[in-house]
């Protein structure tokens, strides 16, 4: 029940962290849906692949920065130390950044193919964005259940 009783100094960094995380996952869902749609619909492939690329550039990457800045801010306020749930959060965030960069590069390559269809790069973007969504669900579980 610790989450119920929270010092007011933690509220703004927590808001920044949670809002960034929600926008991050929301943007990833848009990227996954648009990229998956591009694989299924030949006529719309170029438009949907471009949405996926822009979603990575203008949605996922900026919201990752907001989420991560909020995470560092709240971690410094709480001084929680080296706990399991913090470790899960950092692990997912660090691994997630690497996968996000790879997915962005691949989304850009898929978008450049234009009417040629998204190809293998487009399929990889769908897989990577789905993997990232699952990883962030695990991180959300760690943040709420706080396993020790």
């Amino acid at each position: 029940m610790l989450a119920i009783i929270r010092p007011s100094a933690w509220e703004l960094p927590l808001l920044v962290h949670v809002a960034g995380a929600m926008l991050l996952v929301g943007a990833l869902v848009v990227v996954a849906a648009a990229s998956a749609g591009a694989l299924r619909r030949d006529d719309d492939a170029a438009v949907l692949t471009r949405i996926g690329y822009r979603g990575m550039l203008l949605g996922v990457l900026p919201s990752y920065v907001v989420m991560r800045v909020g995470a560092e801010w709240i971690a410094s306020e709480e001084a929680v130390g080296d706990t399991t749930w913090i470790g899960i959060g950092y692990g997912v965030a660090d691994g997630g950044l690497l996968l996000t960069i790879i997915a962005t590069v691949l989304a850009g390559r898929a978008a450049r193919r234009g009417a040629g269809g998204p190809g293998g790069a487009g399929r990889a973007v769908v897989v990577l964005s789905a993997l990232l969504i699952v990883a962030y669900a695990v991180a959300t579980w760690a943040m709420t259940a706080k396993p020790t």
Partner: protein, 130 residues
Amino acid sequence: MSLYEWLLFLHVVAAFLLVAGLAAYGVLVFGSAGEAARRALGPPALALWNVGGLGVLVLGVWLALDVDSYELWDGWILAAIVLWLVASGAGGRLARTVREGAADRPGVQLAIMALATLALLIDMILKPGA
């Protein structure tokens, strides 16, 4: 995991789904992709917004009943329910606009949904009066 931890986790996941629906609607309203985006993102936007919205409400009420220090008539919980109704009303209108392609000021509906959702998040974190 305790019941409280499960409820909190699922409540937060529902909020993530709600925001994902909002993000998808954002691309539909402000993007320039037209019919292609509507076909690919319209159904997931509607599903995410509806499932997330219902989950947030049901699990939030369950949490309020489960935690001894919360009551359903606490000011911050009543405010959250009002904000949920505002967001849902605008979401319903926007869904109809997207489905039927009607010109019902979709940008205004989306702005109401986004502001109400942001206010909900602030309310959940600050819990004024709790």
